[in-house]
Assembly symmetry: C2
Homo-oligomer: 634 residues x 2
Amino acid sequence: MAIDRALLVPALNNIATRLRIDSVRATSEAASGHPTSCCSMADIMAALFFAEMRFDPKEPQNPDSDRFVLSKGHAAPILYAAWAEAGAFDRSELLKLRRIDSDLEGHPTPRLPFVDVATGSLGQGICAAIGIALNARRIKSAYRTYVLLGDGESAEGSVWEAANVGSADALDNLCGITDVNGLGQSRPTMWNHQMEQFERRWSAFGWNAIVIDGHDMNAILDALEQARNTKGRPTMILARTIKGKGVSFVEGKDGWHGKAFKKGEEMDRAIAELEKQFVPVPESGPAANLAAQIPKPASAPRAVVTPKPVAPPAYKLGEEVATREAYGAAIAKLGESDSRVVALDADVKNSTFSEKFEKALPDRFYETFIAEQVMVGAAMGMAARGAIPFPSTFACFLTRAADFIRMAAISNVNVKLAGSHAGVSIGEDGPSQMALEDLAMCRAEPNCTVLYPSDAVSTERLVALMAYHPGLAYMRTSRPKTPVIYSNDETFTIGGLKVLRESDSDVCTVIGAGVTLFETLKAYDQLKAAGTSIRVIDLYSVAPVDRDGLIKAGRATKGRLITVEDHYAAGGIGDAVAEAVADAGLTVHRLAVREIPRSGKPEELLERFGISAAHIVEEVRALAGKAGQAGRAG
Amino acid sequence: MAIDRALLVPALNNIATRLRIDSVRATSEAASGHPTSCCSMADIMAALFFAEMRFDPKEPQNPDSDRFVLSKGHAAPILYAAWAEAGAFDRSELLKLRRIDSDLEGHPTPRLPFVDVATGSLGQGICAAIGIALNARRIKSAYRTYVLLGDGESAEGSVWEAANVGSADALDNLCGITDVNGLGQSRPTMWNHQMEQFERRWSAFGWNAIVIDGHDMNAILDALEQARNTKGRPTMILARTIKGKGVSFVEGKDGWHGKAFKKGEEMDRAIAELEKQFVPVPESGPAANLAAQIPKPASAPRAVVTPKPVAPPAYKLGEEVATREAYGAAIAKLGESDSRVVALDADVKNSTFSEKFEKALPDRFYETFIAEQVMVGAAMGMAARGAIPFPSTFACFLTRAADFIRMAAISNVNVKLAGSHAGVSIGEDGPSQMALEDLAMCRAEPNCTVLYPSDAVSTERLVALMAYHPGLAYMRTSRPKTPVIYSNDETFTIGGLKVLRESDSDVCTVIGAGVTLFETLKAYDQLKAAGTSIRVIDLYSVAPVDRDGLIKAGRATKGRLITVEDHYAAGGIGDAVAEAVADAGLTVHRLAVREIPRSGKPEELLERFGISAAHIVEEVRALAGKAGQAGRAG
């Protein structure tokens, strides 16, 4: 960074102008996109990419590379333009913006090698940046993390969750920049250009808040330098900018959000204005080719992490252990063998038992307090940088982060969610604490693995499997203690199931998981005593399901399948099984929670809401009495 | 409020002691619950209920009554104790806490007449309180709204969304109290007793922040008075308290969250200590019976709102109108006829077309800016006070409020959600802006009506139906323009469907909704031209579905049913239809989005992700070639 400002600033200004032109051209070619949102932040991008960050445009995933997250994802065109300017790919690609044959999508996704997490749902990028900054500590790297937010975006609560964690964790390797252009999508933002509103908030949340003119290159460079030199807290640069900066007929005007200039006269006029803004610079000398001078990350060779072997589970058959407790023990054990494994908590570690991980590995345990969005968002960032994060809370409170889970699916990151306290079987705490939609939420994502163990052994085995299965995964655990039913050497597979009871005379198959598996086993005993056999399946893998195994069981039991789940009727196990067996012409009878539950004892609630052993027995009897009717096609 | 402080304070202190004793007894009897979380806030509750609020314990729903929201819902026992003390019900009921035969649930729900919205998912009560305070303006009432938060809860981003809206809307009829007891569930909170951390944040967010000792009755009364006299902004009283206050062996101790005292020696010891804290007060005189002196709300008789007749839709057959635009027009029209109808926006009103409502009825249009949680939370509060709120945003961003939607279902409030930009058909913006899980999210709630209109006429008709259908409802709208297919006098029902094409020789039924209905109609034309007839259904009501109508169509078309939806495969239309027809032995073939999509033109994406007319034609042909195989039971 030894280039004289007198040379550097005009060179950066010219880069900013080029980035504006690129953004205008690309969006006009696509006939959609957000050129004015790009123009307001062009000067900041020029300074960040060509005078501040250390990275290798040809190796964006270098573990010691500085990271940049575009939290205001709709400004994607200028992100792409900056990477093209840096030399990551040919500038001509920019004109393929938003085309189905290009990875330069409308909002950034990790299909592009230089994008860590998908953005475009506002307020999430800064949460991911928290995780990326925390990861630098885990891998002992000096990389810095930069995140650029919009001002409108700052209304999202998740931004303030991130603000709290950033200051509580003293993340001085993190620098945010808010592009305060004053205009939202449909109107001026809540605070327009009242910079003091932003400054007050970020200062109050413990950040080093710096207000600057976001079009003054010297001010931007100074602020970035100050951020770099600030210890003990993160910095938020609050840059006052003009939306559409550089194109006079849209500058600061409402009604231009998300509108491309029309190709032809309108675009030509914008480009012509921008081109006039190039300033004369020396054709050679220190600032002549800034892209070629981007400092590479100073990285020592890093050893590949090789997990140590993990001992098999050590439970006793019949021992009573809640799956949530087995989960906590399992992640702790896994964490001891693999330094990439980390755990995150939202102040319920003594309920989810992630406290076992904290006790064993305090340095890799992250407390976000009661803030589920930043917990999942930070996990996304960590996963993008090579960690294997297990964020956990009550399963019902993972719905707080549903939009983050959606974006984690789009990002295809290795986040391993875990939710405890599934269903009505939690009992007295009542419906607000019961997860009855979590399977639906996670199954909806087409690339999310969903696991639901019933005992401690399967929990431990499945935790290890989910850790190394690529992509997003979710494990559902239960509050009540349940007996260990599998021996310690039992093997499980993602997409598998276990047939626990079977005979040649089974009149139907009953499929349970978690607490309902034990209700099913009770029903089995009662029916057996009365001379009726049923097949019992533990559907520990809810997504994917073992289609063949389910069809085989259904066919062997007169086409009769019953699912029983401590979850609402829509989107859970019943639906999963129904879709799997539909092509075989099989249908499913479902026992599930079909109304809003209430407080009560667990066993009372299983009974009241129709998923107890008694209800299973009744359903089996009703079905078995219908012999010969199964499979009728109407 | 004319009682002398020298008399009032000891009387309130005694009430606080009684509330502590009640909370301890009830939780010990239930053998679960949060007595220490109640004890920290007992003095505040005594002051609020017996020296500040105007309400009628026998008529808690009086429209001019002051409102109290317990945002830290786990302190439910003291809420119940306060209402019992006020005379709402007999104190002996308190010992039924958390029992299946009592409405005194583990966390408050509106099964109780004095609870507006269910709480227990932290950070939501204050959002509802924003809506309740805004509602006072709508109905021109002088009622004040009080909301009590936990300190740990303040880490939730939704709290800061509410903080922004509260100050932006200058809600001086709103008073928050934060019970800063310093301890979370599993550890000390982020800021423990650093009161300045709270004060800085609330002040920065524009609130009148008052720090007090939360066990000093005079200080509490002073702060409440100051709040009442503060104009132009809401007040947040930050009360430094001791968790477990009054029971010396748990006071300020970690590890006592959510633990009832064991009945017997442990509980007796706690009660004995508390009983010693009663102070002598006069047996008669002005402060002898505060409960009997609670000031009733000063309410004038209010006219019952009678909606004016609404004109029928006025579209032309074949006219191209996006359902999102028809939605905006419909809510504006409805709002003109019914003063209870309000609309809320998260800065996308020009995309959802809720701007049509704002233009017509600016006083009943609420802008929360980009903050979906407070948007839905405020709608919950408004609905609880008699409004019919339509909060809308992009459907994908409603997932940001998934946990609020979950609690709205538990609260059984009349919130009418609307989400635009459904599915891949939005095109170039890419997956972050596409709603592909919204049907799954809303269908999962057992009491949520889910509507998905395909044209402008059905949109307008369904908006009117959902407004007056009790409870939670969701409408999904689409981005592209689609032709009007229904005449203006067509009627629709919640739980209905429309058969658009049928003949005696239909080889299968294809069920679409939204954009896929038009793909289905295209497929119909292509198949028809080739000599094959299909039945075409518009499934505009996704929850509930018309089971009989679907079964009838399935049976009439050789048992063959195909669903096609611009949504992921799990939890949407395919699952809804599959469950409805399962008992009739029918199965469903599903066309849905089965992988993470990407940017591209809408028609390219429908084709790429398997839900275009061409895919429907192909699926029909594949099925029709399987004649005789349908319904096989394996």
